[in-house]
Amino acid sequence: MTTAVRLRRLTRHVGETVAVDRVDLDVAPGDALLIVGAGSSGRRMLLQMMATLVRPSSGSLEIGGVDAIRDPLAARAQVAYAGTPAVTGAGLTVREYLQFMMESPRGRRSRRSTSVAQALDRLALAGDADVDTLSPAQRQRLGIGVVLMLRPPVAVLDDLPAGADPETYASVGAWITEVCSEGMSVIAGVDADAESIPWASAVRRIENGGLLDAVIPFVSRPPGRTAAGVL
């Protein structure tokens, strides 16, 4: 089976600093990988490289078997990103923005995309609300919703917001579980203080640009507890 994402000694320098240091990683289709890292740990840079938004300084990066360094645009067809910078729907309502993205070349390519009405329901966002007036957490949720709605082979979701509205995040978490069961790979990034995440099939920690070898054991949700924390 083709690996969805394959990193070998992936490195990124920012000036004199090594932001991401020789990271090796394999993500299989259907995996839901969580990368935990505090600010300046290199988490965002790593995720943005996997989304082909930042060019690595050295190493190799393949997405869906495509060399993302040699041909970033071909690799980008396999991966979509939600994170920072946030959604780009200024001037539109939430419904118009979702419709706009559905009509995009990526949306038209997507064969199993979710409808706008379903997406609004799962995101618990009002369709008539202006994107400009959304809170940062709502904008982030909308960004995640767009990626899950478009169903690329690989989704990279950074800055998963923690804390608020457990029901909505449980709904989004169920959505992630659903798309992973259909073979989509999800790679998500959260802050170091994140709690356990029910949908994650594996958790890795990043510190000082290095991805730690040890896999953090998945902590299952205690009975009777809602999916609080993140997603």
């Binding site: 840079m45 938004l53 930042v54 980008r76 640009g209």
Partner: protein, 217 residues
């Protein structure tokens, strides 16, 4: 390109810039014709020629402001993200923005038609002159839309990009009017300059907006 164009036009009409420009330009030209129905007593230009000159100057100055004020806000990294999310080429986004703004400025120019017709009637000149001058405004609209769209992506800050676009656009029009005075060459050159500016910016954006510039660890 269809969704991008629809989205840009939707954003433009929801911002107050177009309405403000529409009202301001019609008010200035109408006020001029009401105060000086036979033209200002300066030089030998007819009332129509004076109204035409005023129209072109006001349009060339207000146009960049409308574009800078009404454009969708994606620039730099946000434009790269939009292109990556939707699977668009950054060049298509830049070109579509310029096209949307050229259409919008053409729409704004139509508001000048009634005062120009009034001036033409007052000066007892053939109506074909007004049609030719509307073509002139359309060529200025193309130039302004192209130059200002490019400036909003190249120059940092909305105010700075507006000022640079106004200066560059005015300079281009001045040069064109000196080198190719009169229809149709001046208009053709002005419109071509706008199209060429957008084409060059689109080519540049194909590489400039592939990766994020402000990436942090």
């Amino acid at each position: 390109m269809g969704p991008l164009l629809r989205r840009e036009l939707l954003v433009i009409v929801r911002r107050p810039g177009v309405i403000v420009a529409w009202l301001a330009m019609a008010a200035v030209l109408t006020a001029f014709l009401l105060v000086w129905p036979h033209g200002m007593p300066l030089g030998s230009r007819s009332a129509y020629a004076q109204a035409r000159l005023l129209t072109i100057v006001v349009f060339a100055l207000v146009g960049p402001w409308v574009v800078a004020r009404s454009a969708s806000p994606e620039r730099g990294d946000a434009l790269a993200i939009l292109a990556a999310q939707g699977g668009w080429s950054p060049a298509a986004i830049v070109a579509t923005k310029a096209l949307a703004h050229a259409l919008m400025l053409d729409l704004v120019a139509t508001t000048l038609l009634p005062p120009l017709l009034l001036a033409q009637q007052a000066s007892a000149l053939p109506p074909a002159l007004v049609a030719a001058d509307m073509a002139t405004l359309a060529s200025i609209a193309t130039l302004t839309a192209g130059v200002t769209t490019v400036c909003t992506h190249v120059v940092r800050g909305r105010l700075a990009s507006w000022l640079v676009a106004t200066g560059v656009g005015a300079l281009c029009l001045l040069l064109v009017s000196r080198l190719w005075p009169g229809m149709p060459w001046g208009e053709a050159v002005a419109a071509s300059l706008g199209v060429l500016t957008v084409a060059a910016a689109s080519l540049w954006s194909r590489t400039a907006f592939i990766y994020l510039r402000g990436a942090h660890a």
